[in-house]
Amino acid sequence: MGKPIPSGVLEIEGPHETNPMNPIGPELLARLLNEHGAALVLYARQWCNTPEDVVQEAFLQLIRQERAPDRVVAWLYRVVRNRGRSMSRSQARRQRHESAASCHGEPYFLPAEDDALDAATASRALDELPIEQRETIVARLWGGLSFDEIADLTETSISTAHRRYQAGLAALRMRLENPCPQKNET
């Protein structure tokens, strides 16, 4: 399940740093699966229709590592991003895939318990964001990565990562306030 994030200002706990000398064991793998499996699948869904396969291969690649990465969560997101992009390139066209995924894919989230935000509406609004903003928001909100890690992941600066995050949130707010937003609005 997704990692619980406190309301208000997001103070996400630090990255899962591991001892680089120790390889990934079953205990750490189980903890990573429980805490980050769902968010990783959500992150991989930004690029491909088979996000579970991408995340599965990423975890297998992590298991085969002789030494654990310094920041194992950020490492997993990087592997998922690379594999997802590679899989997206292997498909016919990225735009076609994204439109198909947004039209026929399942909602990204489970139904909310407090009815504060409709999960299906949020999924659609998130789908309409540009990929740069979308992956930044997913990595930050549900992945728990810091802006430093997101900048390293997306190969941009920290200020660019934060700018994308803020712009994405603003666009989501507009879409969520307006149930029928225009497609070309950014």
């Binding site: 208000g8 200002v9 579970e52 504060a116 935000l117």
Partner: protein
């Protein structure tokens, strides 16, 4: 977008965006359908493989490196290339004609096969006879002694010079050889009386 907006910190989001952020964070992503059993099996298998092959892997590279170095040194030792030799050309001056013996060029004393050689004998005889310089070189201790060469030369050329007093020397002006002991004694006595 201005530079101030670009440098804004994450905590400086507008309040409306902060509330949206919190609402979005409350959404729970769908549970993935990952093959958890396969992942755990792979993790356990890899851990077992590492625990078995760990000590070997730690020593594999140092052992291989040391063995390679030892083999290389052995090959170098066995197939050692020959020391580079340089042909050296030595020019030895050779006199076109053998040098003549001069009184000043002879050594004072040369080794003798029978002992000491008469001092100054070669010096005295050198002007009179042609003696090769090789026989009188001081740096050639195993060369034939010049004394004996000189003696043989003298004996062969001037036998009359070595006749004793009283010997018969017809035509040479030397005294005749005494025939007996008495004649020799008398001749010696005459010589001592006259001298």
């Amino acid at each position: 977008m201005s530079a101030e907006e670009r440098d804004v910190k994450p905590a400086e989001l507008p309040p409306a965006l902060k509330s949206l952020e919190a609402a979005l964070a409350s959404l729970v992503p769908r549970t993935p359908s990952l093959d958890r059993d396969r992942l755990m099996f792979e993790a356990g298998r890899q851990a077992a493989v590492r625990s078995q092959a760990g000590p070997v892997c730690r020593w594999a590279w140092p052992t291989l490196a040391a063995a390679t170095m030892a083999a290389a040194l052995l090959v170098v030792l066995l197939v050692r290339p020959a020391a580079p030799g340089a042909d050296r050309i030595v020019y030895v001056p050779v006199d076109p004609q053998p040098a003549r013996l001069t009184p000043g060029s002879l050594p004072n004393e040369t080794p003798d096969r029978r002992g000491s050689e008469p001092k100054g004998a070669v010096q005295a005889m050198a002007p009179m006879f042609d003696i090769p310089a090789r026989a009188a070189v001081a740096g050639a201790p195993h060369a034939p002694a010049p004394y004996f060469d000189l003696r043989d030369c003298l004996l062969s050329r001037e036998p009359q010079l070595w006749r004793l007093p009283g010997q018969n020397s017809a035509g040479s002006g030397l005294p005749t050889e005494p025939a007996s002991y008495a004649e020799l004694r008398d001749e010696l006595l005459r010589g001592s009386a006259s001298g």
